[in-house]
Symmetry: C2
Subunit: 293 residues, 2 copies
């Protein structure tokens, strides 16, 4: 797929997800401050890689109009957003900046930030359950995939491993990353497959592609935390080292990271070759491997 | 229904829910400390009113074996438990005791308590999605009911109203209680109806009964916070006043509260009279109205 075609489609997905998210939590209510806190983080930019992945997988698996998968795509983005809000809390990573903006609790206070994160989780499942034009089976598969990816054996398990210093060598760090990062990126692909009622084999293939993408993404992230440009990267360089965390950059070095990102990207592209009919997923993987932000 | 029959059935529901909950999060995993923190609060006693309500509604609406509704009943209990863990956090009510035991963050630390609460939410939706022997339609109705009750217009909205001092007169305090307490108790009934695929009218009737029960429950709670016995009640008497919260006890007085609890209980019993074939729900309402703990 040529670069322009890729960019146009990617931007169509991104803009549709942005627009969908922007329509949420806008009602007038006595608890409007909760909506404001939720919207602050939901709409604070971000690359929207997960929604793009959901929407492309839905399209690729034959959903007549990929827009029907927007509630699934945005549900997962809400869960991703809650995890960022809670990760930044003083009792977690205690970060004051995210994507160059003050974190949620800096703006709304710790109490409201905790509640905004708490509310985003059920709202995600509500979006799935209330999605129009998709079958009960599709919705239930989506609920299951999202719940597993974000639950006690998924993203939260990864967060616990991260905070308890579990990752100390390549194997343990890969386990940590599988749970903390890859599970949700894989679920993004699975939700697209669920929307299109793809068969188990296709879902497995696209899920595997997404897992590899997730691992490459994390390794690139660790590398940028060492050799990146702060203004482009959007967060302070060297923050991992400051927090005393062992990362892929420590274990592999900057060059080793770059090599591993290339290897994983090649593998992701190869895994998906049969399904990725016009090369969008290959272009996405290659694009992410070269990102600086 | 005579008292003994009521107690035997109530205990059967309670024991089944307890047993189901006790089988969760027991695997051996590198993030076992997360499981421990989750189980600490999930299994810390409690009256299990919500599961009892779900299971009785499922039975009443014709589910062949009420045990099939256990995943729904316990899903709601997980969400209820997460809300207690997060409510007790230093950035919320900052409580150190719950049901006479140290709160989750006192035992596991603030970070792990936050994460335990976070993980309980998706696990609840997973239980619903993976429930055996129930239809896709039943599960989706359950997901929708639970998500609405616990989301940004449900329980979390009520929590925000509570923390921002919204409740200052009878009307505003009732709105607050509707969101914070009644929504989840109503959802407990709705999940039982969903499991049995009850019609909309029956679901509405049982939901209305549960809402009235919830309001009576809260008013009784406010009253016990003023005139209760600390050892029986399981939390310090006068804590509402200490936190500067206006409660139904302030607005109605102890006698006015008792009168209102009786009125709401009578109304709940009347609402459900046609559906409550053997009087279990009436006995439950009357029993809760007289509780001291």
């Amino acid at each position: 797929m040529d670069d322009k075609t890729f960019r146009v489609r990617c931007e169509a997905y991104r803009a549709a997800a942005e627009d969908y998210l922007d329509r949420l939590f806008t009602a007038d209510a006595p608890w409007k401050t909760l909506y404001d806190a939720m919207r602050y983080s939901v709409l604070s930019g971000g690359k929207r890689i997960r929604p793009v992945l959901t929407l492309e997988c839905a399209r690729l698996c034959g959903l007549a109009d990929w827009r029907a998968a927007l509630p699934f795509a945005c549900a997962l983005e809400l869960v991703h957003t809650y995890s960022l809000i809670h990760d930044d809390l003083p009792c977690m990573d205690n970060d004051e900046l995210r994507r160059g903006k003050p974190t949620n609790h800096v703006v709304y206070g710790e109490t409201m930030a905790t509640l905004a994160g708490d509310a985003l989780q059920p709202e995600a499942f509500r979006l799935i359950a209330e999605a129009e034009g998709l079958s009960d089976r599709a919705k239930l598969n989506a609920v299951r995939a999202l719940a597993r990816a974000s639950g006690a054996d998924g993203m939260v398990a990864g967060q616990v491993l991260d905070l308890t210093g579990y990752g100390h060598d390549r194997e343990s760090l890969t386990t940590l990353c599988d749970r903390k990062t890859c599970a949700m990126i894989r679920a993004a692909a699975e939700l697209g497959c669920a929307a299109a009622e793809a068969d188990a084999e296709t879902t497995e293939t696209l899920g595997r592609y997404a897992s590899l993408l997730g691992l490459a993404f994390q390794i690139r992230d660790d590398m940028l935390d060492v050799v990146g440009d702060e203004a482009t990267f959007g967060k302070p360089i060297g923050s991992d080292a400051e927090e005393g965390k062992i990362t892929f950059a420590d274990l592999l070095g900057a060059e080793g990271c770059a090599r591993e990102v290339r290897r994983l990207t090649d593998e992701a592209v190869a895994v998906v070759a049969g399904a990725d009919t016009d090369g969008f997923l290959a272009a996405l993987a290659v694009g992410l491997a070269g990102r600086n932000s």
